[in-house]
Chain length 141, copies 4
């Protein structure tokens, strides 16, 4: 495992909120990250679908870690802001966020993520995110 992947996976492993919602990191490449959680009735909104906040949470983590995967070795990252559009209800057996870096600058990275619901083996796009991530000194965080 390369150093950037180890750094990303170690940090993800410390995000207690990700384990609370049952999320695991599926893949880490330079500039792209996938995170997934299975459906759970603990994550639902008023109609029994998955809450937009749960889907947004794995998209946010995936964008942050996509940025971290290309950041300098000593840097940590934090989310400056993001926007997410919801395209279809969160109905499925599992939910997956796929993020990639659109542009990485010295201080800021811009990332995009799509989220999919998987149902009976078929994927459906349910949300899309555009996010700004900032590199910070990990010793200062």
């Amino acid at each position: 495992m390369e150093a950037f992947e180890k750094k990303v996976r170690d940090s993800f492993g410390q995000q207690r909120f990700m384990s609370t919602i049952g999320a695991e990191m599926i893949s880490v490449d330079r500039g792209s990250v996938e995170i997934r959680f299975p459906f759970s009735s603990k994550l639902t909104q008023q109609n029994g679908f998955v809450h937009a906040g749960a889907v947004t949470s794995i998209m946010d983590s995936a964008c942050g870690y996509a940025a971290l995967s290309v950041a300098p070795p000593e840097a940590d990252v934090l989310s400056v802001e993001f926007k997410v559009n919801f395209l279809s209800p969160g109905i499925g057996e599992s939910f997956e966020a796929r993020a990639s870096v659109k542009r990485a600058g010295k201080k800021l990275a811009v990332c995009t993520a799509d989220a999919f619901a998987v149902r009976a083996g078929e994927e459906k796009l349910i949300a899309t995110m555009l996010a700004t991530i900032m590199n910070i000194d990990s010793n200062a965080s």
Copy 2:
């Protein structure tokens, strides 16, 4: 309790994800809603602060319910999209989202929300959201 408040509180009570993160509805008025959760180590990111996704989740629900509080009696709502800026780390004993309707149209409402961390009795603004909510026929959802 007025009909709009009962409708909002009943729907919130069905959001299992809100109880998973320990959130409760603090107040419901026409056009404004407050939701809060106490700090829990289950909600943290890699540095032990509250995960942006948890804060975003109560802001999203607060915006949706602010819109629902002014929607026609038979309507339900869903989040079309939102943007959130993170202003300070999620450090505190409790976290509160306060949403209000900026403009309610026939089909769409635009809402804003601020999120605060409460620490030793002092509030700090930690995030701000601008959201678009759509009215839908509740029988169809």
Copy 3:
């Protein structure tokens, strides 16, 4: 020329603001539209680069027309909201927005656009947009 293309080009031809900034429609396909303007000192900000507002304007029109190209024949469209990230300064001989429909629903479409600066024959990505467009009855507008 197909009906959707004629409808898009006719509407664009009526956008006086597009001719004020020197913009022309480069291409129209089902679900994607390109708009370009040449550099002009009339469009600059304080450093002599092209103003973010001018670039945003062609991205907005391109997203709207991408949505219109797949809307029902009798529909018009309007921008509900958009977000744009600026990635590099607007330096170049011409500026081009390329929009495409990410998902078209009955009422709402979600579109993305990238903007490029062209300089000495090379393209540089300078901005990216995520937009929500609404179908409206063209007789009502």
Copy 4:
């Protein structure tokens, strides 16, 4: 005139695009700026209303200058990103953007702006923006 106001007004005076759309700076205070343009048929979209891009352009400049008004004396600013919601059509005799700083950090400021159409002496809210602005070294820009 205080130094921050002179700096803001001088920079605005160099934005050729603002004079192209007929915009003037109405007021500059620490942390808030107002910019206005009168209706002109040069600024219209396909229905004869003011183009969303023209309204967005003065909101963007107003946010940037609100941030500049509280930035260190030697700093310049640039727009990292913004999101804007359109609430009503751009119909009126004049259009005004009012921006204020929501939070100013060392590197980044978050600003909000509302835009109003003025018609027969009455103001109508037509758009709202949430923007991220970055401080940069003005000698480097």
